[in-house]
């Protein structure tokens, strides 16, 4: 029985190795398949005619031209983006993916092409809109409890007893859970648009997400009553920034992207696209 299992495991491992080795052995990248959500405006969005558009979509077109490869964009659910990358459904994740230690254990990252702050979205006529401290200020947090204490302690009294919405499986959910779990009702949503809807209806008092996402979401008429409140939180707490996710075995692909990103940062392409889509410069 043991021997049999051994053989079975051996065969499976060999099969897995072959599969894993295939993309790596194809040194010559002619076509790169890029997985994106197509629903995280303004990073990536699906236009009315069904085509993909957004900051990342324009950026990746520029990068692919620099790398002289053909890029094919496909849409995929955010939830299962990382397992699907490792399963080989596409070669690159492009979805405002923040670099984090947990993620580094399972996938590789290119160099970051953006680093954006996060903030709270609330109803314009709510108490929180008027009372959240440090409104509009840019603060840098590190994720270290003692360093961040000042800012967190100022926010806590006002968030006490409030319902806060976050998008599940984002880097922001950890921050909110770590600092406000004991005093606030935290609700997790599958998409960012859904927590916006619930702030509008008053089911929750605030949503916490990427500030650039909110600024673009506020442009739609449904969200006309929403506004940012409290500090714009940036810094190492969100990791090194947003980068493309690649399989750990595809070091050659990462190297190609790193060179192209460095060039796009150097000649101002990232800044230009950032100002166009975010109204602020998000270059790292």
């Amino acid at each position: 029985m043991k021997a049999l299992t051994g053989i079975a495991v051996g065969v499976l491992t060999a099969a897995a190795l072959t599969v894993a080795a295939l993309p790596a052995s194809a040194k010559d990248w002619k076509t790169v398949v890029i997985g994106t959500e197509g629903g995280y405006a303004p990073w990536n969005l699906t236009a009315a005619d069904g085509s993909l558009d957004g900051f990342e979509v324009e950026l990746v077109k520029d990068l692919c031209a620099r790398m002289k490869v053909e890029c094919k964009l496909i849409t995929h659910d955010w939830d299962s983006m990382i397992p699907s990358l490792n399963a080989g459904k596409f070669d690159v994740i492009m979805d405002a993916l923040s670099i984090s230690d947990e993620r580094k254990q399972v996938i590789g990252f290119t160099d970051p092409y953006a680093a954006t702050p996060a903030s709270f979205a609330v109803l314009k006529d709510s108490e929180l809109a008027k009372q959240l401290p440090m409104n509009g200020e840019e603060v840098k947090l590190t994720g270290d409890a003692t360093h961040d204490k000042d800012v967190v302690e100022k926010l806590r009294p006002l968030l006490k007893g409030k319902a806060i919405g976050i998008q599940a499986a984002t880097i922001y959910s950890k921050f909110i859970y770590d600092n406000f779990k004991d005093i606030a009702d935290i609700r997790e949503y599958k998409t960012a648009a859904e927590h916006d809807l619930d702030v509008v209806t008053g089911r929750i008092d605030a949503a916490f997400d990427d500030a650039t996402y909110f600024l673009s979401a506020f442009e739609s008429p449904e969200n006309k009553d929403l506004t940012l409140a409290g500090p714009k939180i940036g810094g190492p707490v969100w990791g090194e920034g947003e980068a493309f996710g690649v399989r750990q075995s595809d070091t050659d692909l990462k190297a190609m992207f790193d060179v192209a990103i460095a060039a796009a940062l150097a000649d101002g392409t990232v800044k230009k696209l950032s100002l166009k889509w975010f109204k602020v410069d998000v270059s790292p």
């Binding site: 939830d79 599940a168 997790e188 599958k190 809807l197 209806t201 008053g202």
Partner: protein
């Protein structure tokens, strides 16, 4: 080699969400069941004023995806200021209530049709016989129609409640984190889809195994007339008791 500490840890987290799944299931099945009785009653009514709305209800809730119904109940109703300012809002703003409501409204549509199937399978002769014995109204329903209709409907209904147990997984879309939702959350933190989903599947298998056994037991209890009598097996070779006594007693 499976990573047992991880699997135990995952199982613990998933089991912590089990009460939510069970509450969703029990409440939606109960509310849906009561609603279904009214809909069935309206659906078989000879009056168009009753039967047409019931047909419409079944058509809508059986014909559209539960996922969309759930979204409409949760995000859709909240869009209307009228609803937000009504007396129902304190209840409707709760995600759990909306999840139960979505599940119950949907299962009521299916259950109503299953009950109707059971009802029309009650042989007319049996009702006539009961009426001839002087039964009518609720007594007729309780003693004759309901037992026959329920046992006819039971196999289909057991499938429906098993489907509902699995449908509770949709509640995580409206921020009610039940077993499947928690499984997805763990996967998004650990990226280990296989181990976590297998644990979740095992929980549903056990739950549905219990459901199958319960409905199976109920079916057995309701169908004594279909079972071979234990005496007739052992008494197969013995001469039958004289039939005259039995006949006389009904005289």
């Amino acid at each position: 080699m499976p990573d047992f500490p991880f699997i135990f840890d995952t199982m613990g987290k998933l089991l912590a969400a089990l009460p939510t799944t069970l509450e969703l299931f029990i409440l939606s099945i109960s509310v849906g069941g009561v609603l279904a009785c009214f809909i069935t009653w309206a659906r078989i009514s000879p009056y168009k004023l009753l039967s047409l709305p019931a047909r419409g209800y079944i058509f809508v809730f059986r014909g559209s995806p539960l996922l969309i119904q759930m979204f409409l109940v949760y995000y859709g109703l909240g869009q209307f200021a009228v609803v937000r300012h009504s007396i129902f809002w304190p209840v409707l703003r709760e995600p759990f209530v909306c999840a139960v409501l979505g599940l119950a409204l949907c299962t009521a549509g299916y259950t109503a049709e299953i009950l109707r199937g059971g009802l029309i399978a009650v042989p007319a002769q049996q009702i006539e016989a009961a009426r001839a014995c002087g039964m009518s109204g609720l007594l007729l329903l309780r003693r004759v129609i309901a037992p026959i209709a329920i046992r006819q409907a039971l196999p289909a209904y057991s499938t429906e409640i098993i489907l509902m147990m699995k449908s509770t997984a949709l509640a995580s879309l409206v921020t009610v984190w039940e077993v499947t939702g928690v499984a997805q959350r763990i996967i998004s933190q650990t990226y280990r889809a296989m181990d976590v989903f297998l644990c979740a599947a095992a929980i549903y298998l056990v739950l549905n195994f219990v459901l199958v056994k319960l409905t199976g037991g109920l079916e057995y209890y309701l169908t004594p007339h279909l079972r071979a009598r234990p005496t007739s097996l052992s008494a197969g070779l013995r001469p039958l008791p004289p039939p005259a006594a039995g006949d006389a007693s009904h005289g």
